[in-house]
């Protein structure tokens, strides 16, 4: 079966500034594929080329076997899009927006049912400007799905949402995938990618750094395991630091911190057991997608709070991220 989205060696510059240097990726049918990366990495430019909103300088893009620029009429029928920061007229009501957008498609979904599914039924007569951030986001997801697309591209799905709304949106997206829609998700929110994505591509400075499942990416940086515990009796550090799996040992009070590679834990535990030392409050920090992200992009700005990120104005204007 051919890939749903295929991008090969995409390159795009704006006035001499390279936004996307060389991006290749493949999205298979039915998966949720995440594009991760810091602001200005080229995420939004990449998906805008996939959506056909921008013409690539070089490279090839095929979406459902279509060329996003040449086959616009057909592609827009089959590709649902949620743009970053796209609003609706202030006085347009929720029900009207859904009805209008459904009238634009050949085979629309039932917009009333969609409104129900997204928990907007009681807001049907509410103007767009009166909606909360979470409601606006749900409406924009509904509008991306109202044409019953085969593929949906969702850019910064949960940015600006409170934790509850974020959880609800994630459940919703899982439901959309269950209906067989292939989803391309742009995010710089690691927890979101870890929770939703089957595979992710990590983009930095206009290039794909790595592609794989979130778990596989985390494993790549697994050497950075950190083990923490409290001692019942004093311990000679040399017992641990002499282990080949251990990189460092440090102690403050009775709290010991050991760093080492992926096999450090079992090595440390067996040494402690041999010496009949009980490790209390044992904590092992496994690398997760965020660690992988930080290690692979060398970017410290991403992570827990996507709204707090501010990059330089120049970078933003290049990528519109």
């Amino acid at each position: 079966m051919p890939a749903v989205i295929e991008v090969r060696h995409l390159h795009k510059s704006y006035e001499g500034k390279v936004a996307v240097d060389d991006v290749s990726l493949t999205v298979e049918e039915g998966e949720i594929f995440g594009i991760l990366g810091p602001n200005g990495a080229g995420k939004t430019t990449t998906v805008e080329c996939i959506e056909g909103l921008r013409a690539p300088d070089r490279g090839e893009i095929s979406v459902l076997g279509l060329d996003p620029r040449r086959d616009r009429a057909e592609l827009t029928q089959r590709l649902g899009v949620q743009l970053q920061q796209a609003e609706l007229p202030d006085r347009l009501r929720v029900g009207e927006a859904l009805k209008l957008y459904s009238s634009l498609y050949r085979r629309p979904a039932d917009w009333r049912e969609l409104m129900e599914t997204l928990g907007l039924a009681d807001k049907s007569n509410t103007s767009f400007s009166k909606l909360s951030g979470g409601q606006k986001q749900r409406l924009s997801i509904a509008l991306a799905l109202v044409g019953s697309p085969q593929v949906a591209v969702l850019d910064e799905l949960t940015t600006g949402l409170d934790p509850q709304a974020r959880q609800d949106t994630w459940k919703l997206i899982e439901g959309v995938r269950a209906r067989g829609v292939t989803i391309l998700l742009v995010t710089h929110f690691m927890e979101e990618a870890e929770r939703l994505c089957d595979r992710v591509a990590l983009i930095d400075a206009g290039r794909v750094v790595v592609t794989g499942t979130p778990a596989a990416l985390a494993e790549q940086v697994q050497e950075e395991q950190r083990i923490q515990f409290r001692l019942s009796v004093p311990l000679d550090h040399a017992l641990l630091s002499s282990l080949p799996e251990v990189a460092s040992v440090s102690q403050s009070g009775d709290l010991v911190l050991v760093t080492g590679n992926g096999d450090a834990l079992s090595a440390v535990m067996s040494v402690l057991a041999r010496n009949q030392i009980v490790a209390r409050q044992l904590r092992v920090e496994q690398a997760n997608l965020e660690d992988a992200y930080l290690a692979l992009t060398g970017n410290s700005g991403a992570g827990r709070n996507p709204d707090a990120e501010q990059n330089s104005a120049a970078e933003q204007s290049v990528d519109e991220d």
Partner: protein, 261 residues
């Protein structure tokens, strides 16, 4: 279990219904802007009432073919209500649509942003016609201003004026980066054009240099032409060409410059 599939409607019909839906929605949105609606229709009517209650304005004069200054003023008020809509309202809406990403969002749908522009302008034409009818009806019923004696010509020139003004409005929307700047440009152009339309000083009372300039502006040409039709004459072709030139010229440049996002 039987599965029934509804065949998709032919593309042309689907497209036409999309355009109709878009136009109806734009019309609804225009009507929901209560404040602007009230000012846009109310201001010219208030002026009508003020001028209508000045007796000297209502004396028939031989220079106006037996019509009064007040009768001659009706075309000025008609162009005023149209200019308020096309120059201070439409550009703000369209620039706002671009600023908010509404046009860009529609670019990703089968409708495309061009259809939205057409729908917006279509809705504006409908609203413009309603505005003209209000002014004409109030003048007719309240102040016994006769309908234009050359009524066919009147209708044609009103429509041409609407198109020329919307072309200028579209041009402003194309060059303005956001709604606020669109409003600033729109209002400036509005008052400049209304001066040459004779809102403050009737065109025949202007110095000849200003009269010449006036005839070259869209609203100067429109007012002169509408006054001619009120008097029962077909306006000179020059007026017709002036309005068409503005429509085509500004329309084409606007179409070239217009950005979606």
């Amino acid at each position: 279990m039987s599965v029934t599939t509804v065949p998709p409607p032919p593309p042309m019909i689907a497209r036409r219904s999309a355009l109709l839906q878009l136009t109806l929605v734009e019309l609804k949105l225009l009507v929901r802007e209560r404040g602007r609606l009230v000012i846009g229709i109310g201001l010219p009517v208030v002026l009508l009432i003020i001028f209508g209650s000045i007796p000297a304005f209502k004396t028939p004069r031989a220079t106006y073919g037996g019509l009064s200054l007040f009768d001659e003023y009706i075309p000025v008020l008609i162009t005023f209500t149209l200019a308020l809509l096309a120059l201070s309202f439409v550009p703000v809406i369209l620039a706002g649509y671009r600023e908010k990403g509404i046009l860009r969002r529609l670019q990703t749908t089968p409708a495309g942003p061009v259809r939205v522009l057409v729908a917006q302008l279509g809705a504006s034409v409908v609203l413009a016609v309603i505005r003209v009818v209000v002014v004409v009806v109030v003048a007719r019923l309240g102040y016994h201003v006769p309908l234009a004696r050359q009524f066919g010509g009147f209708v044609i020139y009103v429509l041409l004026t609407i198109l020329a003004l919307l072309a200028v409005g579209l041009f402003i929307a194309a060059v303005a980066p956001n709604g606020r700047i669109a409003l600033a440009i729109g209002i400036s152009v509005l008052y400049l054009l209304m001066f040459f339309a004779g809102l403050w000083l009737p065109i025949p009372s202007m110095p000849s240099v200003l009269q010449h300039i006036s005839h070259a502006t869209p609203l100067g040409a429109a007012v002169t032409a509408l006054q001619d039709t009120a008097d029962g004459r077909w306006p000179p072709v020059r007026q017709l060409l002036t309005l068409i030139a503005y429509t085509v010229g500004f329309g084409l440049v606007a179409a070239r410059l217009f950005r979606w996002g």
